[in-house]
Symmetry: C3
């Protein structure tokens, strides 16, 4: 069994945003030498996500509007008890829950085994600081 | 390490629906010869899901009503910017996000290691065309 | 390839609640002897979750309030068709869908490869009875 671990550094200038990390994950798979196996890609932080969807600007706008509706930002510690800790990011924990922490992707013939539109994104909901994405590859 | 890759073709006559694919996944596990390991099952499309829940008709009805409430269909490109591309399926991308892209299931003694009611479903939110589910098995 | 399977018994006195199971999962990883690999942790039941987030009491309160808003309890079989089966837990199936069934975590140097605040939780939405969490480790 071969394995490889990589960490990708993410730093978004704003509070929220999506970054396409597909080519970085493919590069890690290629570097691993794994021809068949699995790759786990996860946010190492609890206010950001890794997910798979379409690389389409309008859809990303829609995700932002929709998440704000389902889990609105509100610094008021009466609205979210988490904000009694001095934080104001309770909504980011909820948004990340909708979008997910991780994806697991099949590796076939050394490539991410993807359908026609699948792309891997990092989703940030509490940015302006450096965070990390873990890429873990196992296989042979 | 053994591995096996299979693709299941899915074609739903309507826009939405759920299909129990548990026996097809078990058949792939049996064919792989893997006695202990993991199986990844994921939609290869970004407007459909693979998820685990109960095979109960009433619950599937409830999922449909609930998803329509959380992420309503609306072809208006002002409601969803994604629909400015000429598509009308922005809601399907959001519904799939709630239900999830993939499941990872343990294989023990050559069987899906499931609790009493766990069943694997394909969830379609933008049907009337052929799509694919990827089954990737690794183990020994 | 090494592998190990463990089942954790969960019994919550109330209908809902969150239990930090991180140390139990780490203990299983240690017992497996796996130094690099993956661990799958999933609920074996369809009205409970395994997820990763912060071990902060206020946030857990917020999750409860938020889930009740997105998927309210309602025993009325006209509100949820699933409840026509004689059950009253349709909302628990929906809540579990938001929070997720499973997590996959990287193992590096024999440890859960976590960011600073990541903790693994069992989330119960239909308690007062014994349920099980599956821990499946593969690697070497």
């Amino acid at each position: 069994m071969k394995s490889r671990t990589e960490h990708l550094a993410m730093h978004l200038p704003g509070t929220t945003g999506f970054v396409n990390i597909t080519s970085q994950v493919q590069d890690a798979v290629t570097a691993s030498g794994v021809r068949k196996g699995l790759v786990l890609v996860n946010s190492m932080h609890i206010t950001s996500s890794v997910f798979i969807n379409d690389d389409e600007r309008g859809l990303h706008h829609d995700f932002g509007v929709w998440l704000e509706k389902l889990a609105p930002f509100n610094p008021d510690p009466n609205a979210y008890h988490h904000n009694r800790t001095g934080e104001d990011n309770a909504d980011a924990h909820l948004k990340r829950t909708i979008m997910g922490r991780e994806v697991v992707v099949a590796i076939t013939n050394g490539r991410l085994d993807f359908g026609p539109w699948e792309q891997i994104f990092y989703g940030e909901f509490d940015g302006k600081r450096t965070k990390r994405v873990l890429v873990k590859i196992i296989g042979e």
